[in-house]
């Protein structure tokens, strides 16, 4: 199961609301708001593409999100599952 660390860029005034909304999304773990309008998050999906779809749904489905920028993607599917 792929895992990605991402930076979610938001409008400053909506950052808190975006964080609250993100916390309701399955397979998303958040690590707070930083530098005013970046939310650090980890996305998990069944496949690399499901990660991409998840990130699209965040971009398009949550008001105030400007963009989702991965910094690390791990595909170590079998080994990750132990």
């Amino acid at each position: 199961m792929p895992i990605a660390g991402v930076l979610i860029l938001t409008n400053i005034e909506e950052a808190q609301e975006v964080l609250v909304n993100l916390n309701t999304v399955e397979n998303v773990t958040t690590y707070g708001i930083h530098k005013q309008n970046y939310i650090i998050a980890v996305l998990e999906g069944d496949t690399p593409k499901s990660l991409e779809i998840l990130s699209q749904s965040i971009t398009n489905g949550i008001s105030g999100v400007i963009g989702v920028y991965p910094t690390y993607v791990n595909y170590e599917d079998d080994e990750a599952e132990g």
Binding site: I3, A4, K49, Y69, P70, T71, Y72, A80
Partner: protein, 761 residues
């Protein structure tokens, strides 16, 4: 706690830490993270997708790629990537990777050996050459190929076979930008670098959906705007896109009618005192079709483009044009970023010229934070094709086939008679495929691109692909082009080969070989080398045993040129995050701004002269005279196919975030296809109401080249009178409906405007 849980949590923590590091935050002080853990070998490389040139770190374990992360040390992206990173690994291991050569027998492509396939290609190419001459053969390459690959193709076709019929798909996307830079500034490629983004007060995004097509550039702009609320963004685009969420002003022109807007902005800038008279007097010449003119003539020319007149031509309210001009003029620094919306036009070069004009007349060039900066669509369109000479009029290292001295210099390095290199340009892309249709070209080698789908008016050119001898070297199979191939050769893909990519900002970056090529796939440069040997050029290709040998020979040709890469050896490129030319020596750090202090060419040759003349820049490129840039008087010109009563809608095309080009890489993922399963047509709600078309209804788009059925997406995105279709899908190849008219200067086709009509299916 189970081992499984521990491992997974560790990866999650590493992922979060990596994201935090991307913005200089430490989430877990003292903890060891992914780049030091688990036996993963990390390889510094460059992203495979667009032209931004993001640095990636490829995590490999036991010969398998297991992870990707942004390269925090790379100044292009500072560790951030766009969502395409999710797919980088998947593309390498796609089920559609081609693992063996194929030859068409009895109408079907069947598996063959390398020996049989290359023997067949060599024999057929030699037969064609002997019977019809070298110009009966052609090469069509890609802005995704490495510089070394294009270099081998150039040598084989231009230097050995003796034809300049060498083109690449950057002709379809960047040729107008090249023409604009050459004719306005005297030399190709931008003055500045991405680092101007963090110094700019205003961004003018013209014909660019930066948020979707160049997400990392967009993020840099956004990060900068967040920290500096006074930063403004003006958009010029006939379609509302995700980039709009940050726009301060959006101008919506009718597709193909924006030249008047640039001229009107220039008029306002001059009339309201925003022009830099000193810069104009010392650094610029004014020209029209009759030659050099004075500034007064330019001002008279602009009288034909008042904002009110521009409104009538473009549909953009005069007040918005004035507002945009004032924002541009008032800002201390400004960057214009553009891409296909300006380039893929019948007057793409003129559109580029008019963008440069705005920067030149205001002196917003050659200072930190100001530049007219073309964004590129493919990862090596600049490095491999523009710099590497992968077009019909070029030779490697910004040399030209028409110049005898250039031919002699390149021929000497190649070890071929200078007479082998033809003195006239070969056929540009549209002419080349037309000649294939007509049988004038009888054999074509296509590398790393899919012209059967991507050419404008594509169906017209299937005839030649079907009738002539066509070789396709590809990593993926099938494609629309392999459907017509006589031979298909399996090419090694990204991570399976080493080489250099040169991105938008003049930055050349090294990519390592990380894993072995899949199946029998081979590196394109070696395929071309081996083909050359089989065609009888054994001596000419004997020495190319490594990528480094090819690169060293190529960079030797750049010595003394404006794009000097002599300081960019493999040894050095393996250590650094790319180098921005000119970089003349191994101890030179690379150049931030060209044509001014700090540029080694300026410093050594032109600084003294510039000082004498009281100038801060000297445009020393091959097309500039006396070191001066040119302000061009470019009039309005209609698109090649204006709308009319018969075809009242303007059809424009573009990308969606989820797919890339002809989907050879992105099209095989079921999840993605479920997310964006089909092509569609965006229709403005007013147009839809007038035509009684409902959302999700099936409609037929008709142009003078054919018709195609799509699902209607009624949405407030395209300006009224315009429809938009993304171009990726093989089963809905919208380029079949696009016009193949092209810019007379750049020869780049006008994908962005065609007259169309819609009816219910």
């Amino acid at each position: 706690m189970s081992k499984k849980y521990t491992r997974r949590e560790f990866i999650k923590t590493s992922a979060a830490a990596s994201a935090a590091a991307g913005i200089g935050v430490s989430l877990f002080p003292g903890m060891t993270f992914a780049n030091q853990s688990g036996g993963t070998n990390w390889h510094k490389s460059v992203c495979r997708y667009c032209g931004v040139g993001c640095g990636v770190m490829i995590g490999e374990k036991a010969g398998k790629i297991i992870s990707i992360k942004g390269d925090e040390l790379n100044t292009v992206n500072n560790g951030h990537l766009c969502v395409k990173a999710f797919y980088l690994h998947k593309a390498v291991n796609s089920k559609t990777r081609l693992h063996h050569p194929m030859i068409r027998k009895n109408g079907k492509l069947v598996k063959s050996s390398w020996e049989e396939a290359l023997d067949l290609v060599a024999t057929k190419f030699n037969e064609i050459r002997k019977a019809n001459g070298g110009n009966a053969l052609a090469f069509y390459g890609s802005g995704q190929g490495e510089t070394e690959e294009t270099y081998m193709a150039n040598k084989l076709f231009k230097g050995c076979i003796g034809t300049n019929n060498v083109e690449g798909n950057p002709r379809l996307c960047m040729a107008s930008a090249v023409g604009g830079y050459l004719s306005s500034l005297g030399a190709d490629e931008p003055v500045g670098l991405y680092e101007d983004i963090e110094k700019a007060e205003l961004f003018f995004l013209a014909g660019s959906n930066t948020a979707e097509a160049h997400p990392i550039i967009f993020e840099r702009i956004m990060r900068h705007k967040t920290r500096n609320p006074n930063v403004k963004i003006v958009i010029l685009d006939p379609r509302k896109t995700p980039t709009d969420q940050v726009a301060d002003l959006h101008l919506f022109p009718k597709p193909g009618y924006d030249l008047a807007i640039f001229n009107a902005m220039a008029k306002v800038l001059i009339d309201e005192g925003y022009a830099d008279d000193d810069f104009i007097a010392k650094h610029l010449v004014m020209k029209n079709g009759d030659g050099v003119q004075d500034f007064e003539t330019y001002k008279k020319f602009l009288n034909d483009y008042t904002p009110e007149i521009a409104e009538k031509i473009s549909g953009v309210p005069a007040q918005d044009i004035i507002k945009a001009a004032r924002m541009f003029g008032k800002a201390k620094t400004a960057m214009t970023l553009w891409t296909m919306g300006l380039n893929q036009r019948k007057r793409g070069v003129w559109a580029n010229n008019l963008v440069h004009n705005l920067h030149l007349i205001t002196g917003k060039i050659g200072v930190p934070g100001s530049d007219s900066f073309s964004l590129t669509g493919q990862p090596n369109a600049c490095g491999g094709v523009r710099e590497g000479g992968g077009l019909c009029h070029l030779l490697p290292g910004h040399h030209l086939v028409v110049k005898e001295a250039h031919r002699a210099k390149v021929a000497k390095v190649w070890g071929v008679p200078a007479s082998n290199i033809q003195p006239k340009p070969g056929k540009h892309t549209i002419a080349m495929f037309s000649a294939l249709n007509e049988g004038e070209i009888k054999g074509m080698y296509i590398m790393c691109t899919n012209p059967a789908q991507s050419l404008p008016n594509a169906k017209k050119y299937w005839k030649g692909l079907k009738e002539q001898f066509v070789v396709v070297a590809e990593s993926f199979y099938p494609t629309m082009t392999t459907e017509y191939a006589d031979v298909v050769l399996p090419a090694a893909f990204w991570t399976e080969k080493e080489g250099v990519y040169g991105c938008t900002e003049r930055r050349s970056q090294y990519m390592p070989l990380v894993v072995a090529p899949q199946g029998q796939a081979k590196w394109d440069a070696f395929i071309l080398r081996d083909l050359g040997k089989k065609m009888g050029f054994e001596k000419e290709f004997a020495k190319y045993e490594t990528a480094e040998i090819m690169w060293d020979e190529y960079r030797g040709l750049t010595k003394g040129k404006d794009m000097n890469l002599m300081g960019a050896s493999y040894d050095r490129l393996k250590k650094v995050r790319g180098l921005t030319w000119p970089v003349p020596t191994e101890d030179h750090p690379g150049t931030y701004k060209r044509f001014m202090a700090g540029d080694p060419i300026y410093d050594s040759k032109f600084a003294e002269l510039a000082k004498k003349e009281g100038r801060r820049m000297y445009f020393y490129g091959p097309k500039a005279k006396d070191g001066k840039a040119t302000v061009w008087m470019r009039p309005h010109d209609d698109p090649a196919e204006p709308t009319d009563s018969e075809y009242p809608l303007a059809l424009t095309t573009g990308r969606v975030l989820e797919h890339w080009h002809t989907m050879t890489m992105t099209g095989t993922a079921p999840e993605l296809n479920r997310a964006v399963p089909n092509a569609y047509v965006e229709i403005n709600p007013i147009d839809a109401r007038n035509m009684s078309i409902k959302n999700k209804e099936q409609v037929v788009i008709e142009t003078r080249r054919g018709s195609m059925q799509f699902e209607a997406r009624v949405i407030d995105r395209p300006v009224q009178g315009t429809i938009f279709v993304p171009w990726h899908w093989e089963n809905k190849p919208i380029n079949v409906l696009c016009i193949d008219a092209f810019d007379p200067g750049s020869k780049e086709p006008e994908y962005k405007v065609a007259a169309a009509r819609i009816r219910k299916a």
